[in-house]
């Protein structure tokens, strides 16, 4: 009945993109940078490795000395020095000579290959080489991994273990990253009480406090949670108090599309509501606005609706505040049940999927947390579809794809 007034999901994304804000940058120690988002184009200061180095324990040699070497025709070389890891040798290797060398040590002048220890036989200060070695064999050449001046990372790169390693190898022990968005979560609802207390008649346990804090953490942001009664004056004060110190405000509750939407009305008063009501299920009463140029997401009070709204829109926005080019990654699965949908509305159906099939979780109700506990994905039915036939292909959004 109100469907004609609701914003299509695609249009909601367009409005979010149009009003996307970025956090500022900060410099942190590289050792603390796991999972953070690099904010600069990073250029290597160094060659890595910084010299031609031995890739194996063995002997640095001239390869051509060994071209004729066979197990039944060993070639004898004189060992003139030994180089441990972290050490250097000043010798200049000549024909018929070898230098014992540890993995990682620099190749001495005059040598062009390393023969593995296993292919040699030691006799006093000499070795017998039992097989031929090619030039360059078992040598990691200078700059093989990274060359000085080479771009190693682009802005917006999430620092995985390997990005940390290449950044260290390029000579950096600090890094510029986007600040984690500071998010104030305001949970509204006179009926809400803490789980430790015994609920009185009419009370409901405030589970959204836990959910929203964890969801914000999952989006690489820093949450602070507060509870507000359903009182427009108190809510207004809380928003005004916090809008300067935070990069985003998220509210839950009080957004139902009817009279008395106290949260939406308050945001409209303090700033600008950009949209209210999206053609999706669950999660229809989602609203988004700006107060003092800071984004405010107004989520449903229903736990499941709030989670879906977060999973579809808020995490997307929060990750993009850190310049991560996040998009939902849909995968294809075979749906095990006929699943109807309504034209003009995007459905996000809680579901359990393996690598091939997907099963909708048949527990309805936008408040039923248990359905989310049993799910690992959403079946996504676009607005131009009337549903999915049994055993036909459908699009699935894996919860695991939210982990960036």
């Amino acid at each position: 009945m109100f469907i004609s007034e609701l914003l299509p999901v695609k249009e909601a994304f367009r409005l979010l993109d149009e009003n996307q804000r970025l956090t500022s940058e900060e410099t942190i120690d590289l050792i603390d940078a796991h999972g953070r988002v690099n904010s600069r184009r990073l250029i290597s200061k160094l060659d890595s490795p910084p010299f031609d180095k031995a890739a194996m324990d063995g002997y640095a040699i001239k390869a051509k000395d060994t071209f004729q070497a066979r197990a039944d025709n060993p070639i004898t070389l004189k060992v003139i020095d030994s180089i441990g890891a972290g050490k250097v040798s000043n010798v200049k290797l000549k024909e018929g000579e070898a230098v014992k060398i540890a993995t990682g040590a620099p190749i001495p002048e005059g040598a062009d290959a390393v023969v593995m220890e296993e292919y040699t036989y030691k006799i006093g200060d000499k070795i017998e080489v039992l097989q031929p070695t090619s030039p360059g064999e078992n040598i990691a050449p200078r700059g093989e991994d990274v060359k000085a001046g080479e771009t190693i990372l682009e802005p917006g790169t999430v620092m995985r273990p390997q990005e940390l390693a290449i950044t260290a190898s390029a000579g950096y022990d600090t890094i510029e990253v986007y600040k984690k968005p500071r998010v104030k979560i305001i949970i509204t609802g006179d009926e809400l009480v803490e789980p430790g207390t015994k609920p009185r008649p009419g009370n409901i346990i405030n589970s959204n406090k836990y959910t929203l804090k964890a969801l914000v953490e999952s989006a690489k942001a820093s949450p602070t949670v507060e509870h507000s009664p359903d009182n427009p004056r108190v809510l207004e004060e809380k928003i005004e108090e916090n809008i300067q110190g935070y990069d985003m405000i998220i509210t839950t509750g009080g957004t139902a599309i009817s009279k008395g939407d106290i949260v939406v009305d308050t945001v409209d008063k303090l700033g600008r509501v950009i949209f209210h009501g999206v053609a999706m299920r669950p999660g229809k009463p989602l609203a988004f606005g700006l107060v003092e140029d800071k984004p405010v997401f107004m989520l449903s009070g229903y736990p499941v609706a709030a989670m879906v709204q977060f999973d579809i829109f808020v995490r997307y926005y929060l990750l993009r505040m850190q310049n991560i080019n996040y998009e939902h990654q849909l995968v294809e699965r075979i749906c095990q049940r006929k699943t109807p949908s309504k034209l003009g509305r995007t459905d996000y159906i809680r579901a359990f999927t393996d690598n091939k099939i997907v099963e909708p979780i048949l527990i309805s109700g936008s408040g039923i947390i248990k359905s989310m506990v049993k799910s690992n994905s959403y079946i996504v039915i676009e607005e131009n579809s009337e549903g999915i036939d049994k055993n036909s292909k459908c699009n699935v959004l894996l919860f695991n794809s939210f982990k960036i």
Copy 2:
């Protein structure tokens, strides 16, 4: 040449399982439990919702009063009370009466349905109902989500936002979880220096320090990193110093399968080496042992080999220390290149994949960090395969699947 002495990957997993240790439990605040692992069977203390509650803003009514209601034949009811969220009403609803009710508020006695506000028309202290309502409509019945006494979580459950929500709704504000394994990382190598310093000849930047710390964090464990020279006496001291205060020791370097494996020799002296050398590439020189009944993983000094060893074995073990039933989840992709492999060895080939195809990253060398930076997965070629033909199916292990 040593391949016959190497342990098959499956056998390495069997030996890890045989020597799996669990961390002990601790009680933490539920608000801090995101991502932690529940250690007990959790039984709900409460019904959730704790009463029949309104699922919409509207009027609590007797459904049968409205069976004949139509837009052109409205039924008039008398509004005798109003219930806000968090409030209760003591009225007992009789035929022809209605109680105004907010979403989340308890249904008053005598009512069996809620008619949405949108389907009513208010005239003074009366409403006209414009369409019929069924019994139970817009009511979330007591215990619909969780019933008191019901099992809500099993041990070994990772606490996602939804598990936090259901735990709160079940009346808990604390939870028993497995302790995060405390992991001491000892990076060996005389040649290693910090990235802030200017490397002298023979020096290599210690990138493994960054990688291993981040990898341990990715396995829900708490890392502490230390550097050790290649000196058996110092290493022995460091292991002995730390074995009591940590749940696991990880070393990198000094494990090449040749003479002078100082790390493996030291662990063998202090405890027991359970295996050394696995039929895999990269990562062959992996060793695993126990010292004072604590697991010790001895990884390669090569950055890429160490990452692969961690990704395949160490994360598996660390997650299982917290009772997570982790297994590698392989997915199927079409390989874009002919990729040979050797019988008797499991290959983990750095690769980039989308939803359909996979492309091996053609940068070889177990030290080439750049190849890991360009990768998002491993192609896994089992030991009984001689490789993959171009455009044929292969098994892929997504890095994203490591995020638990």
